[in-house]
Amino acid sequence: MTQATVVAAIQAVGEAIIAQKQFLTDLDAAIGDADHGINMARGFEQVIAKLSAATNEIGATLKLVGMTLISTVGGASGPLYGTAFLRAAAASQGKTNLDRHTAQAMFAAAVNGIKERGKATSGDKTMLDALEPALAAFADAIAAGKSLPACLDAACTAAYGGVEYTKTIPAAKGRASYLGERSIGHQDPGATSSYLMLKALADFCRQTKLDWE
């Protein structure tokens, strides 16, 4: 993946989130404060507007995305997703083309950043319930020598499973935790946006016929 591809991929991810603004907001209305889609869409609108200013270094581009999300999304998701992109940026420092090992390191750094900042773990009914299984599946697929689209598909399937899993548990972190047992039966908005972002990335790679080089 080159810099130009990264920019296009982020644009695709952003558009997917903006398209699901209402859906994500409705999910948040059920167990939170009805703003997750609004927050994320506001952030990615700014990201897309700023992408043209991106330099030709992948790390700098991802840092721009992280900083923009941090300064425009607000709420819990802003610092968390923002931190994720900043960490991914750091893990890709100096790269102009992404190989499978860098990609895995970036994904791992991103998930780790979210864990450090938010102090949540799997089973707390957060975005981590989508991201951690997705990361594991992604790593497994890479280890199994799969293609990029196949690796991302594996990540998506795992993330989707994580979203489904969030329906079955009470929230222990974030605003939904105030609901206690009443949050059971609802899927987590942040887990859902994580899944949607991975899904958009996978779709983008398939459509543009990208693969590991």
């Binding site: 907001t25 209305a29 167990i31 939170g32 404060d33 009805a34 703003d35 609004i38 927050n39 506001r42 941090i70 300064s71 425009t72 999304v73 607000g74 709420g75 819990a76 998701s77 802003g78 610092p79 968390l80 900042r117 938010g118 929230a171 222990a172 972190k173 974030g174 605003r175 935790s177 105030y178 609901l179 206690g180 009443r182």
Partner: protein, 331 residues
């Protein structure tokens, strides 16, 4: 959605403009930011910075002024402000004696304010924080995020603000803020939802005979729903929880806040105040001061919260000290 607005995207910006237009003697706005600071900030004193999502007016900009806040940072409606905004607020009001951040206990507020504190600390600014968590509707627990911060935050602004105004050091202001937090408990109910302008529809619905108990101030659902009861019964229920948690002794002095959520007539808040007074009196408590009105709202939500603050001599003196802000003036 029936609202007196121009565009859902502009509500926070235009509200802040309106606050500056209406109260130039109290507040000015940091150019290009969603931050209101004291008209003549920075002051040569410890600075208090608070804030959070918008939609809780007069919180927080309404409390910027003498004896309360030095800056208020406004996020989008019900969404924590971003770290860069909080960081600019800290820099603008730091008068050299350090800055105390008053944060309500929500993941979003915590994460954003903490990132801002890290940024300011990197500049060499002394920054401390306190986390308000007065809402007893939500049980404290090691494995969840703990109690939420609601109307008790106003008492933190008032008392820590008076302490800072008196010339105290950062550690002292932080300590008194923590004492307020340790002694403040609140709980509320809602009769009707509110509509986030950008969402365009109510964040939940309640049947004609239902109320939501333990309602949060962001339209987030409370602990449970129940059929509406007479005002006195509702007050008894709320005070049962508040008193059980705060556990004041007969003879203790307390301050009370009966807070409207935005759409509740003052008439109803006074009917509530009457019962609150009677219950507290029956508990042998000594009510030093009662605030009744819209202090920490949820847009147009109908409902109210009751906050009880247990006082000692120091808290009482600081509570009764003068304040001069758009939303709270006292001699």
């Amino acid at each position: 959605m029936k609202k007196i607005i121009n565009s859902p995207d502009q509500v926070v910006d235009e509200m802040l403009q309106g606050m500056v237009c209406a109260h130039p003697q109290y507040v000015r706005r940091l150019p290009g930011l969603s931050v209101l600071v004291r008209a003549n900030a920075p002051q040569p004193k410890v600075a208090l910075v608070s804030g959070g999502g918008s939609g809780h007016e007069p919180s927080h900009g309404g409390y910027v002024g003498r004896g309360m806040l030095d800056a208020a940072v406004a996020g989008a409606v019900f969404t924590s402000p971003t770290p860069d905004q909080v960081y600019e607020a800290i820099k603008a009001v730091n008068g050299g004696k350090g800055v105390l951040l008053v944060i309500k206990n929500y993941t979003g507020d915590l994460l954003n304010f903490e990132m801002a504190a890290e940024m300011a600390a990197a500049d060499g600014i002394e920054v401390e924080k306190v986390i308000v968590n007065d809402d007893v509707a939500v049980e404290n627990s090691t494995w969840t995020t703990g109690r939420r911060g609601i109307a008790g935050t106003v008492f933190v602004h008032k008392i820590a603000g008076a302490k800072a105004e008196s010339g105290a050091q950062l550690a002292e202001v932080k300590q008194i803020a923590e004492k307020v937090i340790a002694n403040a408990r609140s709980m509320g109910i809602a009769l009707s939802p509110c509509t986030v302008p950008a969402a365009g529809k109510p964040s939940f619905t309640l049947a004609e005979n239902e109320m939501e108990i333990g309602m949060g101030i962001h339209g987030e659902p409370g602990t449970h729903r129940a059929p509406i009861e007479p005002a006195d019964k509702i007050v008894e229920h709320l005070l049962d929880k508040v008193l059980a948690d705060l556990n004041p002794a007969s003879g203790d002095e307390v301050a009370v806040m009966v807070n409207g959520l935005g759409g509740t007539p003052l008439m109803e808040l006074y009917i509530v105040s009457r019962k609150v007074f009677n219950v507290l009196q029956a508990h042998g408590l000594n009510i030093v001061k009662t605030y009744v009105g819209n202090y920490m709202t949820s847009l147009e939500m109908a409902g109210f919260s009751v906050t009880l603050l247990k006082l000692d001599g120091e808290l009482k003196t600081l509570l009764l000290a003068p304040a001069d802000t758009p939303a709270l003036v006292q001699f």
